[in-house]
C-alpha cells in the first residue's frame, strides 16, 4: 500500500469521526437547550469556543443568533471543521483510496456525503435540525457497519481504525476538558439542575448518557462521570477504550508487517498508564494536568503513526 494511501485512509476516518462527534455534540446541546426555559445560549457559545473557532466566528457575525452558530458549525465552508467541510474532506480522501474500499464502504461514504450536501445546501432551520443530525450520525453508523462487515481486517482496515480512535480519544479528552471544573472534588455534588444539565450534555455528546445511567442506577456524581469517561474499558468512547483499540490495531500492523514501531511503544505506554491504580481515583490527580498531558500525547502518537508508516 502507498504511504499516501495510508494517510488518506487514516484521515478519512478521522474526519468522519470528527463530523460524527460534532453532530453528537450539537445534538446534545440542542436537547439541553430545548429542555430549558432560556435557550441555553451559553452552551451554544461554548460550542464555538471549545472548538477553537471563536475568532473566525466573531469575524463573520456581529450579533450572532443561535441559528447562526448552528449554521456556522454545520454548513459554513470557511470553517474547515464544519460538518460539510469535514464530510467533503472525508469523501475526497475516500475518492483517493477508492481502490482500497469495498463497494459497500464506498457507497455508504458517498451516500452520506450526498445526503449531507443536499441537506445543508440551504441555511438550516431549527425545525430540520433533529433529522439532519440523525442522518449524519446514521451515515457514520452505516459506514462502520459496512467496514466491519465487508472489509478484510488487514492493514487498510487498521489505518482506518487508527484514524477513528486517535480522533475519538482526542474528542473525549477535549469534551471532558471543557467541563473539567465541574468534575473536580470542589464542585458541588448533585448541585442545582444546571449542573446536572451540563453533565448530561457531556454524556450525551459521547453517546454515554444511557449507559452511564444504567450502570449507576441514575446516580450522577462528578467523579463517577470522570472515571467512567476516562477509565471504563467497556465504554466505546472512553479514553482507555480508544487506546485499547489503537494499541491492538498497531499490534496487527506490527504483526503483518513484521516490524516494531515507535508508535506501538507509545500507544502501549499510554494504555498501560491508564491501568495504574494511582490514577484510578480521579480525586488524586490534577484533572486539568492529566487532560492537557493526554492531548499532547495523543498528538505525538498521531505523528509517530505518520512517521512509522511513511504517510508523510
Amino acid at each position: 500500500m502507498l504511504g499516501r494511501h495510508g494517510d488518506n485512509l487514516f484521515w478519512m476516518a478521522r474526519y468522519l469521526e470528527r463530523s460524527e462527534n460534532l453532530s453528537r455534540r450539537i445534538q446534545a446541546t440542542l436537547h439541553y437547550a430545548l429542555s430549558r426555559q432560556n435557550d441555553g445560549e451559553e452552551e451554544w457559545t461554548a460550542l464555538v469556543s471549545n472548538h477553537g473557532l471563536g475568532s473566525l466566528f466573531d469575524e463573520k457575525y456581529d450579533d450572532p443568533k443561535t441559528i447562526d452558530i448552528i449554521n456556522f458549525l454545520l454548513r459554513d465552508r470557511d470553517n474547515f471543521d464544519s460538518v460539510v467541510s469535514l464530510m467533503s474532506k472525508a469523501r475526497n480522501n475516500g475518492r483517493s483510496v477508492r481502490t482500497s474500499l469495498t463497494r459497500e464502504v464506498w457507497l455508504s461514504l458517498n451516500e452520506s456525503w450526498m445526503k449531507c450536501e443536499s441537506a445543508l445546501k440551504r441555511p438550516v432551520n431549527i425545525r430540520d435540525l433533529p433529522v439532519i443530525l440523525d442522518d449524519i450520525i446514521k451515515g457514520s453508523s452505516s459506514f462502520r457497519g459496512a467496514l466491519y462487515g465487508t472489509m478484510l481486517h488487514n492493514d487498510i482496515f487498521n489505518f482506518l481504525r487508527l484514524g477513528t480512535f486517535i480522533e475519538r480519544a482526542d474528542n473525549t479528552i477535549r469534551t471532558i476538558d471543557t467541563k473539567y471544573h465541574r468534575l473536580l472534588p470542589t464542585a458541588k455534588v448533585i448541585g442545582g439542575s444546571n449542573d446536572q444539565g451540563q453533565w448530561e450534555v457531556m454524556l450525551r455528546s459521547l453517546a454515554a448518557w444511557r449507559s452511564f445511567n444504567w450502570l449507576k442506577k441514575g446516580r450522577l456524581d462528578p467523579l463517577g462521570v470522570a472515571n467512567f469517561l476516562i477509565f471504563d474499558e467497556r465504554m466505546p468512547r472512553s479514553i482507555k477504550f480508544c487506546y485499547k483499540e489503537v494499541k491492538s490495531n498497531l499490534e496487527d500492523l506490527s504483526n503483518s508487517y513484521n516490524k516494531d514501531y515507535e508508535s506501538l511503544g507509545l500507544a502501549d505506554e499510554i494504555f498501560t498508564s491508564l491501568n495504574d491504580d494511582r490514577l484510578r481515583n480521579v480525586q488524586e490527580i490534577d484533572l486539568k494536568v492529566f487532560l492537557t498531558e493526554h492531548m499532547a500525547k495523543n498528538n505525538q502518537l498521531s505523528q509517530a503513526i505518520a512517521n512509522d508508516f511513511n504517510m508523510n
Binding site: 499516501r4 458517498n110 516490524k259
Partner: protein, 471 residues
Amino acid sequence: MSIFDEMLGTDSQKTRQPYEKLMAWLGDQDLKKLYKKSATAEELFRRVGITFNVYGDKKAEERLIPFDLIPRILSANEWRMLERGIIQRVAAINAFLEDIYNGQHILKAGIIPENLIYKNKAFLPQMCGFKPPGGVYTHVVGVDIVRTSENEFFVLEDNARVPSGVSYMLENRSTMQHMFPELFTTHQIKPISNYPKELFKSLALCAENTFSDPNIVVLTPGIYNSAYYEHSFLADEMGVELVQGSDLKIHDGRVMIRTTTGTQNVDVIYRRVDDDFLDPLSFNPNSLLGTPGLFDAYRNGSVILANAPGTGIADDKAVYSYLPEIIKFYTGEKALLNNIPTWRCSEADSLQYVLEHLHELVVKEVHGSGGYGMLVGPAASKQELSAFCRKLKANPGKYIAQPTLALSTVPILTRNGLAPRHVDLRPFVLVSPNTIEVTPGGLTRVALKKGSLIVNSSQGGGTKDTWVIGA
C-alpha cells in the same frame, strides 16, 4: 439525406433482425415503469460516483454522463466485419509508430510528407531510436466508428494516446443487467466484463521478457481529473495500485513508490496522463503532475509506459487522412474499414474547396478533441460561417474538413416515448506483443438533442449499452 435507423432501417417499415426481440419486449413495457428505471439508473450512477468534472466549469460540480437504457445492438456478422477492420487498422498504427520513430521508411517512400511529421506537435523526437518492450506502442486504443447505412461504416478517428470511456462501457452493461436481467436471458450477448483482467494480462505480456511477476500500477492525474472514476475503477478491477506522479520517485534509475512498509519497484505504468505531464525534465517543464526522470527511466528500459509516449502522431487528424495509405504500406492490404473523405486545409486546392462548401462540411482542429473548436457547417449561422472562414484563411494547416455524414440513429427514451438520435461507437482494443483483441461492442455515444451530430459527453452527449448478439 435519408437517415439509417439501426432499429427500423431507412424506411421505418420493419424492425431490423438484431432488434426483433428487443422490440417485442419494448412492446410489453409500461413506459412509466421505464421512466422510473431510468431514474433508478441515474441514482445508481450518482451513488457509485460514476461522474466526471467538466474542464473550465467554475463550480467544479460533478456531473453524470446521461445513460439511455435502450441498448444499441450489433449482429455477430456486423461485428466480425468491424473487428477484422479494427485489428488491421490498429496493427498498421503500431507498425507506423515503430517506423516513424525508427527508420522512417514511409517518409522515404514519399507516402507521407515529412513536414506532416516533423512539424507536428504530437511527434516526439525523444522517442527516436527507441523500441518499447514487446514492440507495442499503443497498448490500448479506442477507434471511433460511425455508420451511415446497412453496410457502410466509417472510422471517424483513432484514439491512440490515452483513450477513455471503457468504464462507462462496463458500468452500462452491469447497470442493464441489474435493471433488466430478463433481456440477458432472451438475448445471447457477448460478455465484456473480462476487460480489466484482459488489460492486466496484456500489460503483463509486454513486460514478460523484462520483468518476472511485474508490478503494474495505474497513473492518474488525481481526483479532480474528469476521468478519475475510470482510473480508480480500472486499478480496482485489476487489483493494482492507483498512483499519482508525486508518488513515483526515480532511484538509481528505477521507478519506485513509497509504501507503508518501505519502497517498491514499479515495472509497468498504465498511465492516464498525457505525454506533456509525464516528466517535467523531458516534456512540459511547468507540469506539477509529472515525475522528474521518468522518461529517462523509460528509455533505459527499467519501466514500461502504456501507451508509449509519442503515439499521438498516429491519431492526429491530419495523419488520419493518410490511414488508408498507411494500412496499405505496412500490411500490403486494402483498408477494410473506410476513412471519411478528408480535405487537408493545408493544401491549397482543398482549402479552396472547403471555403466554398463550408456550409455543408464539418471542420475540425487537427489537434482538437472532445468536440471542442469544431464547426458543423449545416448547423452554423451565417456569422459563425464567416468567422470560421477567417480562422481557416489565417491558419489553414490547423484544420481538416469532412463531409457531414448522415450518422445512423438508435432510439432513446424521451419524455414522448422512443425517438431516434444519432450515435457513434468506440470499441476498445488491447494490443499485446502477439495479439490484438477487441472487446465485443464498445461504448456507444449518443447525441441527446434531436438532430444533433455531436455525441461528446463534454457537449451533452449520453451513452448506451452496446450488445453484440448471436453466435
